[in-house]
Structure formats: C-alpha cells, structure tokens
Amino acid sequence: MVAIGLLVTFLGFLLSLFSLTLTTSTGGRMGLVLAGIAISLTGIIGIINRAYVKNAIWKR
C-alpha cells in the first residue's frame, strides 16, 4: 500500500505539471493543479499514512 500511495502522490504532481500543456487557460490550469494537489494529499493522508496507522505500535 505504501508503494501505491507514493505512486498516487507523485501522479498528483504529474497532473499539475501536465496542466502546463493540456490547456492554456488560467482557469483550466488552476482546476487541474488543484486536482493534482488533492490527489497527492489523498496519497499521503489516505493511503500512506493509513497503511502505517494500520500497524501502529499502539494497536499491538
């Protein structure tokens, strides 16, 4: 799960990066970049951290 989380986090950045070429409108770029940030946050908070919390020391 951690590997998937890292991949998702990086893919969020790639979406932001590709906003530079997918559209020239400022609004369109902003939407894509915000989506990219949301995807990266999902990777960090929703996948990577959740995977670690599942086996946290206080659950043992």
């Binding site: 530079l20 970049v33 951290n49 206080w58």
Partner: protein
C-alpha cells in the same frame, strides 16, 4: 578646505544618484557636470587638523580614503566611480552576511524550543541532534548541495554580478527549457567558485538549508536513532533540499513558469515558506510516519495522550530567538540593502514583525476560546506559524495583508495540530508538521493571493518585467504558479524524502528500541544525561 570637502561629498552623492535613480526621480536642480579638474582639486584634511582628533566625525572618511588606480595620474573620475560601485556592493555584502549570521543563530532557537517541548529524559539527545545537524548539513551542502542549488543561478546583480555560477542542467519539456539542477561550485572551488560573491551566496544559502534540516528533528524527537538521523540529514542537505531550492531560487523550472508559460512571475518564494519551511515540514511528516508515535502517545482505541514538554522557559525563549533571527531570514533575502529597490527591507522587516504578532494572537485566542485557557506552547507555535506564513510573501505584500496572513497562520497551526494528532494519528512532539509544513504551504499560496504589485526589485522578478501581483490584485496566473509549487512540494519533495528514508529504515533502522525509549535516549544514544543530578521518571 571645507568647501572642497563639500564638493567631494556632492560629487559622491551625484554619482550615486546617477547610478541608482531613474531620471524621473532625480533632484529638480540638475547637478553640474563633473570634470577631471573637479576631482583633482579635492584635497584631504590637513595633517595638523587630523592631529587634533576628530570628535564630530567630519574629517574621517574623505578623498584620502578613495583608492587611486595610478598614483602618478592622481585621483580620477574613474577612481571615484569605481569606489561608488564598490561601496554599493560592500553595503550589500555586509547586509547579506550579517542577516545570514542572524539566521545561523536561529539554530539555537530551534534547539531550545524542541528540547523544551520534549521530556527531560531526552533533552541531551534532542539538543545533540540540533547541534549535529548544523555541521553535518553544512558539510553535505558544501560538498554537493550548494552546486546543485545555485550552480546555474547566473549573475546576482546585488552582489556584483559574478558570472561563475552559470551551468544549469536542463531538459526540454512541452517545447520549453526546464532547469533541474546546477552544475558549478562543488567544494566552493570548482569552475571559478572561489569568488567573494559566491562566498556570500554560499553562507546565506547554507544557513537557510540548515534551517530546513533542523525542522525535521522535532517531529521525530524522543525516538529517532541518532545514526539514522545523521544519514537522513545528509540526504536532505545534499540532494532533496538543494534540488527544490534550485527550481525556485537557482534559475530552475518553477522560477521560469512566468517566462515560459505566462504564469505571473513564475513560482515566487521571497524567503522560503516553501523552499525552507515546507521542505522541512513535509520531511518532518515523512519521518513522523515512518518512525511512528512514541510509546504511550496513543491508547489502544487511538485516543491521544498529552505528553507535555519539560521546560516552557526554554520554549518561549527559543521562540523569541527565532523571531529575532527571522529579521535576518526575510529582510536578508533581498541579498542587498542598496540599489534595485532594496530599501524595501524596511517593509519586509515590518511585515515580518506584524505577521508574527498576528500569529501569536490567532493561536492564543483560538486556544482560549476552544479550551478555556491561552496555551503558552501553542501561542509560541502561533508566533512561529505567523513568521513561517509571511516568509514567502514578505517582500511583496502590504502591512494589512501581513496581519491577515499571520492571523490565519496562527489559527491554522492549531487546527493542523489537532488534525495531525486526532485524525492522522501522527505523533509530532513539537508541532513541526503544522508550524512549518502546513503554514509553509499557506505562505506560498498567500503570496499568490495578496502580492500587491507595489514592490519593484530592479524592475523585474524571475525574468518577467513588472511587480509580483496576486489574485486579489488582478493576476490569477501568479496563484497558479504558486499552486504548481505546492504540488511539486507534495508530489516530489515528499515522495523523494519518503523513498530515501525507507532505504535508511531498511539499512540502519530509524527507531530506537523500546527499552531505550522508555528509559530516555540521553544515555543509550549520546552517552550522557542532560540533567544528571535530577531523578527522572521513566515514563
């Protein structure tokens, strides 16, 4: 003789005006044209006058202090002009170096804030991490990091325009050039880097990098293996921090989003909310996740337990030291006090003060309203949050915006601490993730919102003419550039930091054993107790 001294003073002032001020703002009465005879006629104070001393300072610093290139030819206009130029650069050198010294002293502030927020049984270990990171980070940065960050920055006009840092590794993407990292300046001798201006840039950038490194020690405190900490710090100081800093400050692709894609002035981060604080804060998040919470921090049902620090005097004193050092961090980021709009250092300094104040109030009032008491450690974190948040926008916003940015930062740090602890179940003993990570990102975004278009650092920024202007003043493209910077922080810096620290976890192991953690890390990790005469609890 006095009239000749006056003439010399007028001459210098006139040359300064010619060198720095646009024609429109020149004095109403145009200065008379200078001739070689004017310069030749200037005489130093008579020896008998100097022999009587100079109590009012009128005789010290005169024509006799201007270096003459050719003694036979005597003083020429060229000599005077060269002296004026060197004076300007000397002012900028001294300004940048002294502010760098202030930033260096922030290491002491971080050390005692973090130590105060930890338990007494780990005090020596926490101090030692903060102490060691200064030297270890500097070594990594001197060997590799500086060249990767600044090796392709090009001439820095405020520091004399030395051209030696001129090699950037680039790729072509979407038909544009993307700078990825610098290639000059390894060991500070490579390819002409043994240069007075390069030394100034190195010192100033090095202490910034060390600030990012020392942020991380807070989130993993009280359970981080010292050897793993050293290796992790080297990786951050040599590779991860410098590469992102190159993208933002070294002429890399983020800085050129304006020139290449028409997004405002490209990614703008005046003093490092993103480059320094978000990089440090996100790496702190990486370590807090990998190392895991301290024993006893969470009950079996996930309910968090308070683990108060052992010395609030250290914490609050450390906050003051950090606030003092921030006057180097932000105003020093002009890299000069003379020329190119650098008198705005006064505005930057005041913005810094105001945001820190507002951050303190924001956190204090939030805690008071929510929990019934003004929490002192969170008030301190509110001060730091306001300062972190204003770091990126400080050079581009007005005082009202600074207060708003700081106030939001102060509340945000409280909300973020609660979210990190209660929702993410992450143990961050000092609040580093919230103070530096969350508020660093807020600072980057705030620049894209509040930059008022009134600053003018030599007429352009990041190769785009005009002043940096945020969404609220009409430029939505600037906000997009800032958000792309945030995305790079989350997607690249976090990911790279996580992968590097997973390798360290596999090879060395990041966390100390349970016995050492329960007894305290001072003896097992650094070999001496911080408070040997005290009887300490084991939990």
């Amino acid at each position: 003789m006095k009239s000749k001294l006056l003439l010399a003073a007028t001459l210098c002032i006139s040359l300064c005006a010619f060198a720095q001020a646009p024609a429109a703002s020149a004095p109403a009465a145009a200065p008379a044209a200078l001739t070689a005879a004017d310069v030749k006629g200037v005489e130093p104070p008579k020896a008998d006058l100097r022999a009587k001393g100079d109590p009012d300072g009128a005789l010290t610093g005169t024509v006799s202090d201007v270096a003459v290139a050719d003694a036979k030819a005597g003083l020429t206009i060229a000599d005077v002009v060269n002296q004026v130029g060197q004076n300007k650069i000397a002012i900028n050198f001294v300004w940048t170096l002294v502010t760098g010294f202030l930033v260096m002293f922030m290491q002491a502030g971080f050390a005692i804030v973090e130590t105060g927020l930890c338990r007494a049984k780990n005090a020596n270990h926490t101090m030692m991490m903060n102490f060691a990171v200064y030297g270890v980070g500097m070594l990594a940065y001197w060997l590799i990091g500086f060249a990767l960050q600044m090796g392709g920055v090009g001439a820095v006009g405020n520091l004399g325009g030395s051209p030696v840092l001129n090699s950037e590794f680039t790729i072509t993407l979407f038909g544009k050039t993307f700078g990825l990292f610098g290639q000059n300046g390894f060991f500070l001798v490579h390819n002409g880097a043994y240069d007075v201006a390069v030394m100034v840039i190195f010192l100033f950038q090095m202490v910034f990098m060390d600030t990012a490194l020392t942020i991380v020690t807070g989130s993993a405190a009280e359970r981080w293996k010292f050897a793993a900490f050293l290796v992790s710090s080297v990786v951050l100081g040599a590779f991860i921090y410098p590469v992102f800093a190159n993208w933002a400050w070294g002429g890399g692709w983020l800085a050129n989003l304006g020139a290449n894609f028409g997004l405002g002035h490209g990614y703008v981060d005046f003093a490092g909310s993103g480059v320094v604080h978000s990089v440090g804060g996100l790496t702190a998040l990486v370590l807090a996740i990998i190392v895991g919470p301290r024993i006893g921090k969470f009950d079996r049902d996930g309910k968090p337990n308070a683990m108060p620090g052992h010395d609030m005097v250290l914490v609050i004193t450390g906050c003051f030291i950090l606030a003092f050092g921030w006057f180097g961090f932000n105003p020093g980021s002009t890299l000069g006090a003379s020329g190119n709009g650098n008198l705005r250092i006064s505005s930057v300094a005041v913005n810094t003060m105001l945001a820190g104040m507002a951050g303190t109030f924001g956190a204090m009032l939030y805690m008071w309203m929510r929990y019934g008491k003004p929490d002192s450690s969170m008030s301190g974190n509110g001060l730091l949050a306001g300062l972190v948040a204003i770091t990126a926008p400080s050079g581009f916003v007005n005082p009202v915006a600074s207060v708003i940015i700081g106030l939001i930062g102060g509340v945000l740090v409280c909300l973020s601490v609660e979210f990190v602890e209660r929702v993410m179940k992450i143990d961050d003993p000092v609040g580093a993730i919230s103070v530096h990570g969350a508020n660093g990102i807020w600072g980057v975004i705030a620049t894209g919102l509040f930059a008022d278009g009134k600053s003018n650092y030599g007429g352009s920024w990041n190769g785009v003419s005009g002043s940096v202007t945020g969404l609220f003043y009409g430029d939505a493209g600037q906000l997009v550039a800032q958000l792309i910077g945030v995305s790079a922080l989350l997607g690249v810096v976090f990911t790279a930091g996580f992968l590097a620290n997973l390798v360290i976890e596999a090879v060395i192991g990041q966390r100390v054993g349970a016995k050492a953690e329960l007894e305290g890390l001072d003896l097992p990790e650094v070999g001496a107790l911080c408070y040997p005469e005290f009887e300490l609890k084991t939990r």
